[in-house]
Each structure stands twice: as C-alpha cells, then as structure tokens.
C-alpha cells in the first residue's frame, strides 16, 4: 500500500467527483443525452481498487461506471466526449455513459445489464491464467446484482476453476429505490462463503482501506489463489440516475442522505494530504476538466450514414422508403 501515495488516491477521487459534477451540468444543459448514473460518494472504491491494478489488468464495469473507467486510466476528455456522443469519444459515440470502454487501458466496458459484466471479467481472467500470465481482472457490481443468477453461477465457476478475478461488490444500500435488506436474503459475504471464496467486508468510503483489501485480493489472484469477494460498503450521495431529479421518487429522507454524506471519500482522503498539495491537485483537475468539457462540446457528431459501422449488418440502404 505504501507505494501508492495518498495524494495519488486523492487525485483519482477528486477527478471522478469533478468529472461527474461537470457531466451532470452537461446533462442539465442538454449536451449529454440519456442522463447518467452518478457515482458521487462511491469514488473510494474505484480509486482504491484501480490503484492496485497494472495497465494490462482488466476490469468490467456497471451502469454506474464513470469512476471505474476514469480510475483505470481512460482519458477524461475522451470519456466526456463519449457521454456527449461525439466521434472523439472513447467509443466514437457508439457507447455512451453506460457502455464506456477503453481496451487500451484495460476497460472491457461498462455494462447496462445488472450483473452481466461479472462473467465477462471472470472469463477474461480465466483466459489470462490459461495463457500463463499473472494478469488479473476485476468485476464490479452492485448489491442489486447479487440477486442475478448469472452472478452466482459465475461465483461457482470462478471458485471451481480458481480464476484470478476480484469480485468487487459496491454495496451502496440501494438497488434503485429498493433497500439492500429488502432485496438480499442472508448476506452478501455469505454468498461467497457458500462457494468457498475468501471474502472481506471493506469500508468503501475509505480509499486506503479499499486499496489494502484489493492489494491482498490481487496478490492472491496473481499467485494462483483464485477469486476474492470484497463487499465495499458505501453510500450513494446523489440520485440513482439524473432522471430522478425530475421524477423525485421518495425512497429515503433528506436526513438520511445528509447522514450518509458525512462519510465523504473526498474529505477522508483530502484530510490525509497537506492542504497545499490538495489545492494544487484541485487546481490541476479544474483546468483538466474544463478542457474535457470543451473537448466534448466541440467534437464532431457522427455521420448518420455510419450508424451501423463496426457491426456485421446489412446496412442502412435497401430499406423501403430509404434513399
């Protein structure tokens, strides 16, 4: 752990926080269509886990994926351009917020189907081990995903075949409006125990605690010890999705949110570094993110004639009424 400086962890947390604040502004102003699932409050998990990973390790992410993608090293400007649907985006505007992918830095894609990325991470990790390398994969998923059959099937396969995958459950207390206690029978750690997978409860608001736990899990994976489950407890400060600000479903009180916000990864990690260092990072990120917004806003929109590029498809021509 000592070899990841506290300041670097702070910078990742602050980068994600700042990126999303700007993304939310761009949702409000209509530049980013479709909205986003804010990661605000959960940044410690992405920052702490990805700090342990090497560039050639891979992750699969979720619908709430900006934090993971940025922490793994994707360019914030190209990420913002992807949210804005520009050709300059990570996925040339074909993926958007819920599918952001950057194979160059090991991001095999955010995924909009709850739990779907978990077998994909495990399959990639299995292939690495089979090739004789010590690369690992991390599969992120929410507390809601532990009710998906495919996730539990993957636990079984990963344990059976000693797959070098770290299963990172981000328990933010909610699946949309449903409280974890109302959707998860038994416990999340108990699911790992049933498959013989080592598991740990982690303070998911503290980047250094997450980093420690991940370092242990990754070391086990690289050494051939198979999967580990980390249940990172955290709290989602913001809406499930930016749409929520218009629909305003009531599933938690303002007082509860205020209490949750008192464990803020940005403040927890910020307090660990000198004020001057923090200010310098904030200033650097400010201009970096200003650039990202400009880059996203000014990137070209894709040509509609290329809508099916990259796909095996018969194409846009030849449909009755088309010219």
């Amino acid at each position: 752990m000592a070899d990841v400086p506290s300041a670097a962890l702070y910078r990742t947390v602050a980068l994600i926080r700042g990126f999303e604040q700007r993304a939310i502004e761009l949702v409000r102003s209509g530049v980013v269509l479709g909205g986003i699932h804010p990661y605000t409050g959960q940044e410690a998990i992405a920052a702490g886990t990805c700090a342990v990973l090497r560039p050639e390790d891979v992750i699969t992410s979720t619908h709430r994926g900006h934090g993971h993608v940025l922490a793994k090293g994707a360019d914030p400007a190209r990420m913002m351009a992807e949210l804005a649907g520009r050709t300059t985006g990570l996925n040339q505007g074909r993926g958007g917020s819920m599918h952001a992918a950057d194979f160059g830095v090991g991001v095999l894609g955010a995924n909009a189907i709850v739990g779907a990325g978990v077998p994909i991470a495990a399959g990639a990790a299995w292939a690495f081990r089979r090739a004789g390398s010590d690369r690992v994969a991390v599969g992120y998923f929410g507390d809601g995903a532990v009710s998906q059959g495919v996730v539990l099937e993957t636990f079984n396969l990963a344990a059976l075949w000693r797959v070098p995958v770290v299963l990172v459950c981000e328990n933010n207390g909610f699946a949309t409006s449903m409280r974890t206690a109302d959707t998860v029978a038994g416990s999340i750690l108990g699911r790992a125990a049933a498959f013989g997978i080592p598991a740990r409860a982690v303070d998911g608001t503290d980047p250094e605690a997450v980093l420690d736990a991940t370092a242990e899990a990754v070391a086990r994976a690289r050494a051939g010890g198979g999967p580990t489950l980390l249940e990172c407890t955290t709290y989602r400060f913001d809406a499930h999705h930016t749409w929520e600000h218009t629909a305003r479903p009531r599933y938690r009180t303002d007082a509860e949110v205020a209490a949750g916000r008192t464990r803020d990864p940005l403040e927890i990690q910020g307090a660990r570094i000198p004020a001057a260092a923090r200010a310098a990072i904030d200033a650097e990120l400010g201009s970096l993110l200003d650039h990202a917004v400009r880059y996203a806003r000014t990137g070209p929109h894709p040509d509609p004639a290329t809508a099916l590029d990259h796909l095996y498809a018969t194409g846009l021509r030849g449909r009755a009424g088309a010219r």
Partner: protein, 329 residues
C-alpha cells in the same frame, strides 16, 4: 470413397480448427465424454485446458466465453438443447453481439455457439424441440443452418474462424445424413453464399437445414411434371439474397420450407424480400410450423406441427398452377 456423417463432419471441423489455431477452445456440458458425439476424441487430443467440461451454468459460461474472447481466445460452446439458447439470449444477443458496435469498433467477439441437435428429435417434447434460428437472424447475429456433412464441416470451420459471434444450428433431422466424399475436399464454406442442390426452371424451393433433403425428394417426385430448383441458403444471416434473386430470374415462382414457427419466422422474411425486390410471376408460398407452435409430445402431434413433404408438394403445385385465394376458399 469414404462416407462422412454429419456428426463426424462437425467433429472433424472442430478438431481441424483446434489444430490450426491454438486459441480455439471448447466449452460445454459433458464435452469431455462427448455425449452429443460432436466433441468425440477432442479431450484426449487437446487436453482439459482446451476442452472444458462446465457445470450446468449456461449463463455464466456463455458470459465467460465472451470475456475469454475479449482476452484473445476463440471459444466454441456446445449446447445440448436448442432451448438453452433462450437462457443465454442475453449473453449472446445483448452482450457478445453488441460489443463491436458499443465499443466503437475496439473489439470483436469471436465465439461460436454450436447446437448439435436442433429442432424436433423424436418425441423429445415441448422443451427440446425448438429451432430458434429466426430469433438470431432477427437481431443480426450470424446464423448458420447446414444441411449436408460437407456444408456442416465448411460452415462450422468458417464460423470458428469468423471474428463475430456465430450460432450454428445442426438440425437433428440432418444428423443422420451421410455423404460419399473425399476428406481432402472438405473446405471452409463462406457465410452468405447459398447452394443450388438441384437446378430447375419452374419454381424455386428455398429449404432450410434438413428440409433440403425433403425438398430434393419432392423435386424428384415431381420431376415428370414440374421442374423444381432447390436452393439452400446455408446461412440465414447473412442471407444470399443475390443468389435467390438469380434463381427467381430463372423460375419466377417461390416456395419456402422452414421448420420454425410461421409468424415472424425466416420464411416470412424470405417471402417478403422476394415480393419487394425480386421477379415473381405467381404468389409465393411458405410451408412452416404453425403460428406459435410448441411441439407436443405424442409423435402424431409432433409431426402434425412440422412441415411435411406432402405440404411442400401441394405448395409447389399451387405455386405453379395457381391456387384459390383465401376469399374464394
């Protein structure tokens, strides 16, 4: 000349491709002992690193295959039952298939899904008799239905080499077909190129999978009176539209025989596309399973739902001689 059975052709294709490319590996239930025969001998030849018996976890191992493909492998998954495709439709149609587009071309997902025994097997009843190729053609997943041993070999080899997901349906009605051929002549067959099994001048019968053999039998029966061309598309997506158009230039009449449900099936697509874009001098006909069919258990009921040679013969005669419209019936 040696005889090659359809199942042996599938088996040879997998073995040859595994020999050719170390990235090819096989996942599936009981593939080690090869309960379906398609993977016979492969475990012994290539070892447990490349031929993996899986737990009964279709969704997980289908997702696994996508991840393994993203990490450089070329997995082939064998499914014992065609209806298992309903379980893994998410992992194929919504994940593997969409990665290339959603990532803006950063990756392709080269996984082959093999169904050795699709469609009705004698009285295997409701949950074992589906032939769901139209679903995959509909969403744009490459979809292949070989009718003969040499095509089974060639199309499966191509599917394994293809950089996209491909579903290969081996109809149970074709598994028993044998072909006299020189094994040296087994070669990959490209997707999207149909095959004319018999030339004719009066009517084109488009037959999918094992029904090619029924179409050939009917063509023979009618040989004195009607000249039937039998066109096997071999892959349903991509479909050989230009090959069909060329055939209809010659015959101008179309009958499609397809062992899947009528409504929204591939048969409807073929008839509609021909009507929109090709030369037809008579109304086209299709012979399919009924709308919304689920194959019942009792043999007579099962057979009552499948396209028959008698139906095909009637449809061909109607296409050639004209037939009463519905309102006149």
């Amino acid at each position: 000349m040696p005889k090659l059975s359809y199942l042996k052709a599938l088996n040879r294709a997998i073995g040859d491709e595994m020999d050719r490319d170390g990235a090819v590996c096989v996942f599936g239930e009981d593939v080690g002992v090869a309960v379906t025969h398609a993977t016979a001998g492969l475990l012994k030849r290539f070892g447990p690193d490349r031929v993996l018996d899986t737990p009964i976890s279709e969704q997980a191992f289908t997702g696994f295959a996508t991840g393994a493909a993203l990490a450089g492998l070329r997995p082939l998954i064998e499914f014992q039952i065609p209806a298992l495709l309903f379980l893994v439709f998410e992992q194929i149609a919504n994940q593997a298939h969409k990665f290339s587009l959603m990532t803006g071309g950063q990756t392709r997902v080269p996984v082959t899904y093999l169904l050795p025994g699709s469609g009705s097997r004698e009285s295997w009843a409701g949950q074992h008799s589906d032939h769901p190729y139209s679903l995959f053609a509909h969403v744009g997943v490459k979809t292949v239905v070989p009718a003969t041993p040499s095509d089974a070999y060639g199309l499966l080899a191509t599917a394994i080499r293809d950089d996209d997901p491909v579903v290969v349906f081996a109809p149970s009605g074709a598994l028993g077909v044998r072909e006299d051929l020189d094994f040296d002549r087994l070669v990959p067959v490209p997707l999207g190129v149909g095959r004319i099994h018999r030339s004719g001048s009066d009517v084109t019968v488009v037959a999918v999978g094992h029904l090619v053999h029924d179409a050939l039998a009917v063509a023979e029966e009618l040989a004195g009176s009607v000249s039937v061309e039998v066109f096997d598309p071999r892959s349903l997506f991509p479909f050989d539209w230009s090959g069909l158009a060329a055939s209809l230039e010659r015959t101008g009449r179309l009958v499609v025989v397809d062992d899947s449900n009528r409504s929204c099936g591939i048969g409807a697509e073929i008839v509609a596309t021909a009507a929109e874009e090709m030369r037809l001098i008579a109304p086209p006909r299709r012979v399919t399973r009924p709308d919304g069919a689920v194959l019942p258990f009792a043999r007579a009921l099962d057979l009552a739902c499948q396209p028959t040679r008698a139906q095909l013969r009637t449809a061909v005669e109607q296409a050639v001689n004209g037939h009463p419209s519905r309102s006149a019936e």
